[in-house]
């Protein structure tokens, strides 16, 4: 199996990302023309037939999501492109927004047609504000050329795309917080139900997808030879963009076929450890909210099923953070914990208080002053957070900790002199 592929990224470097004409010259918007001749359900079926799962983190069946969005009744509906990319160690959407903004817009228009929406919103993190002019100009060029606006290409589709900015809040990547933010408010997650698909942005039915998910749609619709499906494994076909960071020689964004092993990602694609003196300690998959993989698990295939079977985060945001022995397991957990303590919106008790207490207990363990009771409390708090938090932030904040407790139990062992006390 070849380790690097170009499907979602096939246009990178092939056209001038500031020019619609240039995009058209390499076949841009043929997928939209094709889509407009198809029925919305047929498009969702193509996604389902290729087994596409959302690329933002939750790995929700994309064909199913579009079908559900289509079925929801409503005069007005929205499509949201989630470009908040807040998961530490994730920067693949940055590459898509930088190198291929028009493919994303094309994917969003197809989404609008398929689910029956009349407005699309791109919610982009403030950290990528340097990309705003490029996106605004791309939207304006599409309006000028009739790919956006009223009666697009005589199909009867009326659809517009708006660009919104985040302002440094990880929680705004969560669908309901994102909706609040687009309404011009603080991004505090809402109580669910009602779910975003029924009541999202401006309380309209909303279909939220990640940048990569939407960018995948145009090439997939044109893929008559079934190249996408020929990649990856039988139960997990296709390709995925990953962001590799940490103590490797060549960090960066790669498009890989599913089924590649974590070892191949670390040692072949990313060139292996940056300093041979320091071997691998752990790999964190899926960003700060992802589980920790021990060196013994490196041969796990990078597929949803394979990862789940190995008790690892099933792909998540596609982040692969490689950590060598210079960082201790507890040191690493404290870094991750700092992130969540900072990013918790403080709205619900399990997450707000849980993060504080877990941070304190981790400090105690780092100092070697903990008792068995502390370790039990740590696990209890982490479990409570996972099941009682209001939104996905609190639910997943303890993935790294809980997986580390399983994979590196020795780190949490109580020192003898403390045990005697």
């Amino acid at each position: 199996m070849s380790k690097k592929v170009c499907f979602i990224t096939r246009n990178f470097g092939k056209y001038d990302p500031d020019s619609l004409k240039s995009y058209e010259s390499i076949g841009g918007f043929t997928a939209l023309r094709k889509a407009l001749k198809m029925d919305g359900n047929e498009i969702a079926d193509v996604l389902a037939a290729n087994g596409v799962q959302g690329r933002g983190g939750a790995a929700y069946d994309m064909g199913k999501k579009w079908r559900q969005a289509r079925e929801v009744k409503g005069e007005h509906k929205c499509v949201v492109c989630n470009a908040d990319e807040g998961e530490p160690g994730t920067f693949k959407d940055r590459e898509l927004l930088t190198n291929d903004p028009f493919q994303l817009l094309e994917g969003m228009i197809i989404a609008g047609w398929s689910v029956g929406a009349d407005n699309g919103y791109i919610y982009m993190r403030e950290e990528y504000s340097h990309l705003r002019p490029r996106l605004l100009s791309a939207i304006a060029q599409c309006e000028e050329a009739g790919y956006l606006g009223d009666n697009i290409l005589n199909s009867g589709l009326n659809y517009r795309i708006h660009l919104y900015s985040g302002a440094g809040a990880y929680v705004c990547g969560e669908g309901s917080a994102l909706s609040e933010s687009i309404e011009g408010k603080a991004g505090r997650p809402r109580m669910k139900p009602p779910f975003i698909k029924q009541c999202g942005v401006f309380h309209l039915p909303t279909c939220v997808n990640n940048v990569e998910s939407l960018s995948l749609v145009p090439p997939l619709l044109l893929d008559d030879e079934g190249y996408y499906k020929s990649q990856g494994t039988e139960d997990c076909p296709g390709t995925k963009m990953i962001s590799v960071s940490g103590n490797v020689k060549n960090p960066g964004v790669f498009e890989v076929p599913f089924g590649i092993t974590i070892r191949e990602i670390v040692y072949d694609l990313a060139g292996g450890m940056e300093n041979p003196e320091y071997p691998l300690r752990l790999v964190q998959l899926g960003g700060a909210s992802g589980r920790i993989c021990a060196p013994s698990q490196l041969d796990t295939p990078y597929t949803y099923k394979g990862m789940r079977q190995a008790d690892l985060t099933a792909i998540g945001s596609g982040a692969v953070l490689v950590v060598d022995e210079r960082t201790s397991v507890i040191g690493f957990l404290r870094m991750t914990q700092e992130f969540f303590s900072h990013e918790s919106c403080g709205q619900c008790t399990p997450c707000r208080e849980g993060n504080r207490h877990i941070a304190m207990l981790l400090d105690k363990i780092a100092a070697g002053e903990h008792t068995q009771k502390d370790v039990d409390t740590l696990k209890k708090f982490a479990d409570i957070m996972s099941c009682a938090s209001l939104c996905g932030l609190g639910e997943t904040a303890q993935s790294a900790l809980l997986s580390a407790m399983k994979r590196f139990p020795e780190v949490f062992a109580v020192k003898e002199e403390v045990a005697v006390r």
Partner: protein, 166 residues
């Protein structure tokens, strides 16, 4: 005592004109409040939103000042107090930390003779720790007024970066 419906400071005329421009660039759309406030901050030399500006934005957009302040206080990228002209935002998330961004912070502190969160006398520099800004492939990294400087793993490179700030 001043009523809560009124700002404590007086809005600078030039800034008012800039805010008018920013609001019309966002089509006067109140739902774009977050983006508008970011642009206002960028237009102020000390990168914050003066009280008078917050009230002016509220009035122009027809929203309550409380909503504007709810937004300013919620988002980390918005500020209601003056900041340095160049805030060196050092990434504090794990991918940069394992690439020794702690050493980067220490070096900056020493070179600028400054603690994290402090501002230099001339109001030019300050150091802040921020979460991942998506430059993990060039870690350890610093972001200054929206521009990313990566691979800051030696004193030479750090000095180089500081020299570029003007």
């Amino acid at each position: 005592m001043k009523p809560f419906t009124q700002a404590a400071d007086v809005l600078d005329k030039e800034l008012a004109v800039k805010i008018d421009g920013i609001i019309s660039a966002h089509n006067g759309d109140a739902t774009q409040l977050v983006g508008i406030l970011l642009d206002v901050e960028a237009a102020v030399e000390r990168h914050y939103i003066p009280e008078s500006a917050a009230y002016y934005v509220a009035q122009k957009l027809g929203v309550k000042p409380t909503q504007v302040y709810d937004v300013i206080s919620f988002y980390t990228a918005l500020h209601d107090k003056p900041r340095a002209k160049f805030t060196l935002e050092v990434c504090n998330s794990a991918p940069c930390r394992v690439k020794d961004s702690d050493k980067l912070v220490e070096t900056l502190k020493r070179l600028l003779n400054l603690e994290v969160g402090e501002v230099t006398y001339d109001g030019r520099f300050s150091i802040e720790k921020v979460p991942c800004f998506g430059a993990c492939d060039v870690s350890p990294a610093v972001r200054v007024n929206g521009v990313v400087y990566g691979h800051l793993d030696s004193e030479e490179r750090i000095l180089d970066m500081l020299q570029q700030l003007n």
